[in-house]
Symmetry: C2
Subunit: 290 residues, 2 copies
């Protein structure tokens, strides 16, 4: 029995959807499904109700959720406590952040805290889902991530200490001098540079779509995983794509398309567990607040 199975199950219990939970746990849906099966086999009972949408837990599942959650919490806190007490020795703070922040804001963050906090770092970078999962699994002390106040964020993050580092915006960009007839029409849809299905920003874009009914008429042009790649594709003139403002440095060759209705507010946040940490981490946290 791997405790990752427990974490999978808890994510499933919360998100009530195999595909989303798999995504969140940074795993294929197939592998995720089998992990849940393995867990059910280990427990000896079905934990989720078959053929039900959205996913519901069986009675045993509810019972197990509580016990497994408490058990897991105890274990991870034990580990965190041990790591915390060894903090001065190892004096390495583990940061997790999605690619886009690593490429834009990390330098600023480093500059801000560098002189105040003396410590070595290790940095975990990946997709938003990946780094969030790893942070929650205890693989990192601090998580940096975008958060969209307009969208429900993951419940597990609601229990963390949180500080807003700065405001950001999610809005459409296009290559300098181009236009593509945005926001498009049924006859002449604009070409969209979209995020791959699994990306966090893909959900933000979907939210923009929903909010505007059919006012956006697009055709899919390119799909990218990372904001940086997407930005390059936009700059190369392939179409319109949404980016966080923070990812667009001057001279990138892309310009924003106006219109508040196409825009979503974002926050760049730092998270850390509520439990006690070491002095170095406290100092870093204070620096982030200030």
């Amino acid at each position: 029995m791997d405790i990752r199975w427990l974490q999978d199950f808890l994510a499933l219990a919360e998100l009530r959807n195999f595909t989303r939970a798999a995504e969140f746990r940074a795993l294929s849906q197939a592998a995720f499904s089998r992990r849940i099966q393995s867990l059910e086999h280990w427990v000896g009972t079905a934990l989720v109700v078959k053929g039900s949408q959205p996913v519901r837990l069986t009675e045993a599942g509810e019972q197990f959720r509580e016990g497994a959650g408490a058990s897991l919490e105890r274990l991870l806190e034990t580990r965190a406590a041990i790591r915390g007490s060894q903090f001065e020795v190892m004096s390495q703070i583990r940061l997790a952040m999605p690619n886009v922040l690593a490429r834009s804001d990390f330098r600023r963050i480093l500059a801000a805290i560098g002189p105040k906090v003396q410590s070595s770092f290790s940095v975990i970078v990946g997709t938003t889902a990946e780094v969030t999962a790893r942070y929650l699994a205890g693989d990192a002390d601090i998580l940096l991530a975008h958060d969209c106040p307009a969208l429900p964020s993951h419940e597990a993050l609601a229990t963390q200490d949180r500080v807003v580092l700065r405001e950001d915006r999610f809005l459409p960009y296009v290559a300098q001098g181009r236009d593509f007839g945005f926001p498009g029409s049924a006859k002449a849809p604009f070409p969209l540079i979209a995020y791959a299905q699994r990306a966090y920003f893909a959900r933000l874009f979907e939210h923009v779509l929903e909010r505007n009914g059919g006012a956006l008429a697009y055709r899919l042009s390119v799909q990218c995983d990372m904001s940086d790649v997407l930005k390059e594709v936009i700059a190369a003139g392939h179409g319109v794509g949404w980016l966080p403002e923070s990812a667009v440095e001057p001279g990138a060759g892309v310009v924003a398309l106006g219109g508040a209705e196409w825009e979503l507010p974002l926050e760049i946040c730092a998270y850390r567990p509520r439990r006690a940490a070491g002095p170095k981490l406290d100092a870093l946290w204070a620096a982030l607040r200030g």
Copy 2:
């Protein structure tokens, strides 16, 4: 992180010896050693002190032992509770027992409880170490095993409900009509049919040896894993070997060698967890007591 690593670590903390703990966990010493390393890597700290005999835990190790133990207990109890509440549905009692009991006492046990308890069974058979480990891991509801009052038994079993099914003895046997000059002399040691290193009974024999100083002069003749095999080898006239009396049915072609000093008292016991179980299990337990 596999929770088996936690169980390994807890066994190690208790037995303070990699080899013994590996044996108890039914694993090679090499694999066991690596699992501990994996766990240490997961926690992020050394848990056991290097180069120390017997094994000692680091401070972090002690701390982790407590947390991991509590976490594991919570998890396994949750599972057990779920299984317990589903007992009437599945109505299958899972018995674990070492080979020797499966071949001798199980029939009697079955006969004794069969009419009183209506339930289907599943039976796990293996070496004593294996089935004990599996029982403690929650893979069985009841464990049947030999216990020697003269030897310290495993601590983890001390916390279980326990009932003595009957008395037994561990004593030397030889082929009918043979003798081999037992207990032997330096010039003419008797040939010993011994248990393989890993077997539980091998430890009992070692205890007999220690108790008698150098009074036993033997030379190793054959080594066997299982009592039944050993019995056959004795009957074939290859030498003297220790057996539990219960394993020797009439007409087996072997006879006991007298002398209380070569003998060890044994109990055949049943164990079950202290936590609440289902009605079927309670009925079976009552039948075992009576």
